[in-house]
């Protein structure tokens, strides 16, 4: 104890650490299972850093051609790059090397997945609203960076599968108007595949992209602390307080423990399940390819977009070739991602709501947003499934053409169906909530009245339970009114029609008066 006191004093006199402890030590974090998704992302990133550091001690990114002399018999004597050779050595010669490779890969898959789920949580609960719009954008950049890190890392072993991935990237780049051929040439340092791409991706993968990622995670965390975490509506919880566990000790123990659980589960998966068995694919060679090639899951939506394009979409104008079969997916995906990144600003403009929002909404209480999200998820899912179109066809004995046409339908029409269905479901759930808040829930108790009639007794909710059902924001469509000079601007009209689209169908929360009149 005396030592602790001495050490604390020593550090504080040199760093003013007590100020930070005072400010943050008892900071409150609200509790909800869905708040753990972001934590999973953070912790799996730490696991990626740890396992990746181990791998860098053994991996050599050179593309110099050598003959394989390792212990894996089927590949002995086959020419391959040093990068592929050292990836095989990590898997076969180094104790724990395969484990670390698999930990790294599984953690990367989990990293992107948890970011995606975390984004969906934030989106569907409206946690991106003021003052968190910028943190949404930072989080979006983290998502894109995570995919870029995943793809660069996936390419490093220089195996047949990842080489074909790079070949596809090369083909997509070449389709870029004006400069495509040149961009590819500069990127690969030669004609495809060249001998520079793996060392270059290596620098991106272990230095540049992680540095940016760490900086953005830092900014994400700082804004999280400044904005304080959102919380779900509950009795006693308001827009002006945070209810939950303090960092010291409960949150620290829970979050710290959860880090070890995430780490442990990743190691458990890595010790039981193979991921990316590069030795089965062989070294990269532009000629062979195996059927059923699949990218890692998070690249699936991009690969699927390429697959869904109908034949013949290429034109030659004044001698210049424009490949719409590649440009439509490329631009389409950029537009889709940009729409996700900018959505908070659209919604803020439509509502005109300048207040801060710290209560996470239940998805049903904002039917239009939830429906838009469901449409986006359906669009993504259609593209994603298309990346496995060949496997779907072979596993279920369907024709590849039929699978592609079905998924084209899912991707184009599916979002509209998802939109309408989701919106109706949300409104129905809101009506049900309203009904329960006013009349209570069905108790299951059947009573026979003196007249012989049977009724089911409804039990009223208590005030605490009811609060969760009635405490939501309600918006109404904007009424267009002439401005000071008596004009109605086009901007106003657009905003009004947007807000009609958002809020025309709405269910008001139960008011005190309604509740009282119900009781009499």
């Amino acid at each position: 104890m005396r030592f602790t006191g001495w050490a604390a004093n020593y550090i504080d006199e040199r760093t003013s650490a007590s100020t930070a402890v005072k400010a943050l030590g008892r900071k409150i974090f609200p509790d909800h299972w869905s708040f753990m998704l972001g934590e999973v992302a953070l912790y799996s990133f730490v696991v990626i850093l740890l396992s990746g550091t181990f791998l860098t001690f053994f991996f050599d990114p050179s593309m110099t051609e050598v003959e394989y002399e390792g212990s894996y018999v089927p590949l002995q004597g086959i020419p391959m790059s040093v990068a592929y050779h050292s990836s095989l050595d990590i898997s076969f010669e180094i104790r724990g090397g395969l484990l670390m490779r698999q930990v790294h890969h599984w953690a990367a898959l989990l990293f992107v997945a948890s970011i995606g789920l975390h984004m969906l949580r934030v989106f569907f609960t409206g946690a991106f609203r003021k003052p968190r719009e910028l943190n949404w954008v930072i989080g979006f950049l983290l998502f894109v960076l995570a995919m870029a890190l995943g793809f660069t890392g996936y390419s490093l072993p220089d195996d047949l599968l990842s080489g074909n991935g790079l070949r596809i990237i090369d083909g997509m780049i070449k389709a870029v108007p004006l400069a495509g051929g040149w961009i590819s040439y500069l990127l690969f340092g030669d004609e495809f595949p060249g001998t520079d791409i793996i060392p270059r991706l290596y620098v991106l993968h272990i230095l540049l992209l992680p540095a940016i990622l760490v900086a953005l995670i830092g900014a994400h965390m700082v804004l999280l602390i400044v904005n304080k975490h959102t919380q779900f509506a509950g009795p006693g919880r308001t827009n002006d307080n945070v209810v939950g566990a303090p960092v010291m000790p409960v949150f620290a123990a829970k979050a710290g423990g959860f880090f070890f659980i995430v780490f442990g589960v990743i190691v458990l998966i890595a010790s039981l399940f193979t991921i990316n068995p590069i030795w089965n694919y062989g070294p990269y060679d532009p000629s062979p390819v195996s059927a059923g090639t699949q990218p890692d899951w998070y690249i699936g939506f991009a690969d699927g977009a390429l697959r869904l394009i109908p034949p013949g979409l290429e034109i030659v104008v004044f001698g210049y070739t424009v490949s719409f079969n590649v440009l439509i997916p490329l631009v389409g995906l950029l537009v889709f991602l940009a729409a996700a990144a900018l959505y908070p600003f659209l919604e803020a403009w439509v509502t005109g709501d300048k207040r801060e929002h710290h209560i996470a909404e239940r998805p049903r209480n904002n039917p239009t947003r939830t429906a838009i999200g469901a449409a986006g998820v359906t669009f993504y899912a259609g593209l994603w499934a298309a990346a496995s179109s060949d496997l779907i066809a072979t596993h279920f004995r369907l024709s590849i053409e039929g699978v592609i046409h079905t998924l084209q339908f899912v991707t184009v029409v599916g979002p509209f169906i998802a939109y309408f269905v989701t919106k109706r479901v949300c409104l129905a759930l809101m009506r049900k909530d309203r009904e329960i808040a006013l009349h209570g829930y069905e108790s299951g108790r059947i009573v026979r009245l003196p007249g012989g009639e049977y009724i089911e007794v409804h039990e009223q909710l208590d005030d605490y339970e009811r609060w969760k059902l009635v405490s939501y924001e309600e918006y109404q469509p904007l009424m267009v009114r002439p401005d000071a000079r008596g004009r109605i601007t086009a901007r106003q009209r657009v905003r009004a029609s947007m807000s009609r689209w958002f809020f025309e169908d709405r269910i008001s929360p139960v008011t005190q008066r309604e509740l009282e009149s119900q009781r009499h």
Binding site: F92, G171, V176, P235, G236, F259, G264, P286, S287, R466
Partner: protein
């Protein structure tokens, strides 16, 4: 600032005033603000855990937590034991699996013991009441903002940033110009040649023999039976000292023989085939994957990456999938020894499209 949450009533009042305080601040836009909304009932009464009520349960939870931590130590020790006890034996791949499995399980136990123990500690034993912290608006107070404005104004006045517009504008100009060298020096990411010219030629030329991939042995026309398909590279590719893969990525060819009555040939390409043997670029015209799957019965080629289908019987035209152009055909014939040879290079660029492709 921070209050323990006990008993509903007092918390409720605090909560209500908080809501009202909030409502007055910024524009709500099209949000509906009702006077008769139901008020926040305040915090519900605290629920006690079994470990709060029963000292025996508390002691048992304590034992569980420290037991889990001990288990973690055991796991870490086991991991090191597994590292030594399950070495990788050369020539015995199953030892890799055992090493991976037991090392991994040991580490897993080491990690999960700590993780589950810590979470259980926090849930069962640590102070379980929820605490409340006030939020404040994110924006700085008016006073702070005024101070910030003052600082900027002082900075501006003392430097003359707006007043000395020439200095400011030349600085902006300099800052815009200075990254230009950084862009320029990346030119040498690739050699000086014009990549577009490179893309338009392959190793094939008149008289180059078609050889098997990867062995490089030449192919006699008589070796190609009806229904057969050969993966082909140009003669000499396997012996290249450099740029082997780059050349292969352009020159890879598929060779197939179709019954003559099934083969539809364009007028101007009648002499590009030999006795029903046709050679097409193996590099997909979509984004460049090898079109490696040949369906013997239908004479269709399928690209395994994005499922473009090409009909070899009809000059490899696209019949399905995202590709837009047929696979380029390599004109072939036989030399005096009966080996298949190219009559020329491809007459159009192979592989994925690019801007200058048709020029």
């Amino acid at each position: 600032m921070m209050a323990d949450v006990h008993g509903g009533a007092t918390g409720g009042e605090a909560a209500e005033t908080a809501v009202e305080k909030h409502a007055s601040s910024a524009s709500p836009g099209v949000a509906v603000e009702r006077a008769d909304r139901i008020s926040n009932p305040g915090f519900p009464p605290e629920r006690q855990r079994v470990t709060d009520l029963d000292p025996a349960k508390e002691r048992s939870a304590e034992r569980t937590v420290s037991g889990l931590f001990l288990l973690s130590v055991v796991g870490s020790v086991l991991a090191v034991v597994a590292y030594v006890a399950f070495p990788i034996v050369e020539g015995d791949p199953s030892t890799i699996r055992l090493n991976n499995l037991f090392l991994g399980l040991g580490i897993t136990l080491g990690l999960l013991g700590i993780g589950i123990g810590a979470v259980h500690w926090s849930k069962a034993l640590m102070h379980g009441h929820e605490l409340v912290e006030e939020r404040h608006g994110t924006r700085g107070s008016d006073e702070t903002r005024a101070k910030a404005v003052e600082i900027f104004q002082a900075g501006n006045a003392e430097s003359g940033f707006t007043r000395r517009s020439l200095v400011r504008n030349t600085l902006i100009g300099a800052l815009v110009a200075t990254p230009i060298p950084a862009i320029a020096i990346f030119r040498d990411l690739a050699p000086a040649e014009d990549p577009i010219a490179l893309l338009k030629h392959t190793m094939w030329e008149e008289g180059v023999r078609l050889t098997r991939d990867p062995s490089g042995t030449p192919i006699k026309a008589s070796d190609v039976t009806i229904g057969a398909a050969f993966h082909v590279i140009p003669e000499g590719l396997a012996e290249l000292e450099s740029h082997k893969l780059e050349e292969k990525a352009k020159a890879a060819v598929l060779l197939m023989r179709l019954p003559l009555d099934r083969l539809n040939e364009r007028e101007d390409r009648k002499d590009w085939s030999y006795d029903g043997i046709v050679a097409y670029s193996k590099i997909c015209t979509h984004v460049g994957c090898p079109v490696a799957l040949y369906e013997q019965q239908t004479h269709h080629l399928l690209c395994p990456c994005h499922q473009s289908e090409f009909d070899v019987a009809n000059h490899a035209e696209v019949i399905f999938g995202p590709a837009a152009r047929p696979l380029p055909q390599l004109p072939i014939t036989v030399d005096e020894e009966g080996y298949l040879v190219a009559k020329s290079d491809f007459t159009e660029p192979v592989g994925p499209s690019f801007w200058e492709r048709a020029l």
